[in-house]
């Protein structure tokens, strides 16, 4: 059985990976947004996520105690050593795909960080309070756009529905609890993920209803992110992201 610091290390790393990988996706929107204003809005969200990744990587590095930096964790691991949820790495697709991913993820994050505020680990609790402010904004942004797209034109309605349907099978994983989770839940340090599911689903259902969209019924759920088993997309992202760090291992930037 891993000791408590190892568990917290893994936990912090997972939160950081979710933020880091998703921020990378959002940063790909830069100069590609549907309206200049929206380009800036997506970048703001990306910057929030990068900041979040950095603080949780820092904490992970500190817990690990091997003198690593946040950059080492962000840039110097292989595909199988990233523990983000699969949803975070899904490609941007069209704007509806990105908004659907933002909605499904940010509503989850909202309930997750609400709960993490009560962690007995002071750092987790404090970081959760700070993160929650950003998440509320991300959630509003995603929900408002979901409604506009769902209740906009026929074309946008179709695209929004398609996006939600396509991503649905990557949402089950968000509510899993493995040994790390279970051990931390038992000590009052981590979030009881499975208990968030119904809150999340109700919330999503309400947004979709306002958007005149259907809650998907497909129930097969993908899994693997927390074990480092990813989609094909992640490897390509890392190849690009880590290029300079890999090509010039001795260089400082």
């Amino acid at each position: 059985m891993a000791n408590i610091n190892e568990l917290k290390y893994t936990y912090s790393l997972r939160i950081a990976d979710n933020a880091w990988i998703l921020s990378h996706r959002l940063s790909e929107w830069c100069s590609n947004g549907p309206l200049l204003e929206e380009d800036l809005a997506l970048t703001n969200i990306a910057l929030d996520l990068i900041g979040r990744a950095q603080t949780f990587y820092n904490y992970a590095a500190q817990l690990e105690g091997k003198g690593k930096t946040a950059d080492d964790l962000a840039y110097r691991r292989n595909e199988r050593q990233y523990y983000n949820n699969l949803l975070a790495e899904m490609p941007n697709g069209n704007f509806a795909d990105t908004i659907a991913r933002q909605l499904l993820m940010s509503v989850y994050e909202y309930y997750f960080f609400m709960s993490l505020q009560n962690s007995k680990d002071e750092t987790f609790a404090a970081l959760a309070v700070k993160t929650l402010k950003e998440v509320k904004y991300h959630m509003a942004h995603a929900a408002d756009w979901t409604v506009r797209l769902g209740d906009g034109t026929e074309e946008s309605h179709e695209k929004a529905q398609q996006a939600i349907d396509n991503l649905w099978m990557y949402t089950g994983e968000l509510f899993e609890a493995d040994e790390t989770d279970t051990a931390l839940i038992a000590q009052g340090l981590g979030v009881d993920n499975p208990s968030l599911h119904s809150l999340w689903e109700t919330h999503i259902k309400n947004v979709l209803e306002e958007a005149t969209l259907r809650l998907p019924t497909a129930d097969y759920m993908q899994t693997g992110g927390r074990k480092g088993v990813h989609t094909e997309h992640l490897g390509h992202m890392l190849g690009e992201m880590q290029y300079l760090q890999r090509a010039y291992p001795d260089a400082k930037w």
Partner: protein
């Protein structure tokens, strides 16, 4: 505007306008202004806006390859600022009676230009340093001088932009400085970027004063406050010293300090290259516009959805 006004009244207005500009008063959107003044401003401000927006692309080319968390954060925030600058400037131009839709169309059809510098490619990470340091460095010299331009909305946009620009040049210089302190490969990369970006940066100030087509009106109306050559010299003077401090060589064997003028003299700029790139034969001209069109077209259904939603809500609330 004022198409039906009698010529005599226009003459009186014109002299009143010229006097007030000479006094240093700002011109505001609803004030009477000569059509040529309006046209000049629309051309200049929209070109400036397009430059900010197209300028997001060469730097955006490295966001997903930024080598550290900090570098990625800074670059993303910097490019976002440029988008914001484009937006402030589009708004300033809109006060002159042109819509953003029209301006975008002019950009995409080649009727409106953007700064030539963004038709050069960003080949290595050092190019991100070189752009921030040299390109933003050159832009800021120009923009500081435009803070006192005669058209109020343009001048206010420039004040805001200059405030935000202040970190852009620094972050670029920091990238260059860090690389120059790094491995031999990094130093080589930095010098290579310097070699490729130096001359195009000097070209950003435009042709020599003697060959500058739009200048005289622009000066009389205080749209432009300093000449191309004045601004270019200012840029060179402050940049040479910064290059020396970090050990970069300026790729101009004729560059030397001139005691008499108190400025640097520089070698001749390759104007043939300048005009070749302006005319569309830079490496990236087609690529930049194609990228802009793609984003614009891909986003059309999103904007249409937002419009449709607005209309539906209005019907519901009535």
């Amino acid at each position: 505007m004022s198409i039906n006004t009698a010529p005599a009244i226009d003459d009186a207005r014109l002299s009143k306008f010229e006097e007030s500009v000479q006094r240093g008063d700002a011109v505001e959107p609803r004030d009477w202004m000569p059509e040529a003044y309006r046209r000049h401003l629309i051309r200049q401000i929209s070109q400036h806006a397009h430059s900010e927006v197209i300028g997001m692309q060469p730097e955006g080319n490295w966001i997903t390859r930024a080598p550290s968390i900090r570098a990625k954060q800074i670059l993303l925030a910097k490019i976002q600022d440029e988008g914001g600058h484009g937006l402030y400037l589009y708004s300033a131009a809109e006060t002159l009676g042109i819509s953003r839709e029209e301006m975008i169309e002019q950009l995409q059809t080649g009727k409106a230009k953007y700064s030539n510098i963004f038709n050069y490619p960003t080949l290595t990470w050092a190019d991100i340093g070189a752009i921030g340091w040299l390109v933003d460095g050159a832009a800021i010299v120009n923009q500081v001088s435009l803070q006192r331009t005669s058209y109020g909305p343009y001048s206010r946009a420039m004040v805001r932009i200059c405030k935000e620009e202040s970190f852009h040049q620094r972050q670029g210089y920091e990238i260059m400085a860090t690389m120059m302190k790094g491995t031999p490969e990094q130093r080589e990369m930095a010098q290579d970027a310097m070699n490729r970006w130096w001359w195009p940066s000097l070209m950003m100030f435009g042709p020599h004063d003697s060959d500058s087509p739009h200048s005289s009106d622009a000066f009389r109306w205080k749209i432009k406050r300093h000449s191309n050559d004045e601004l270019r010299t200012k840029f060179i003077d402050k940049t040479v010293q910064q290059a020396e401090v970090i050990g970069l060589t300026i790729p101009d064997p004729e560059l030397k300090w001139n005691e008499a003028t108190g400025h640097y003299d520089h070698g001749e700029i390759n104007w043939e290259e300048f005009y070749r790139v302006i005319q569309g034969n830079g490496q990236c001209n087609k690529q930049r516009i194609a990228h802009h069109k793609k984003a614009h077209n891909d986003g059309a259904w999103v904007r249409a959805a937002a419009e449709a939603y607005k209309v539906k809500q209005a019907v519901k609330n009535n």
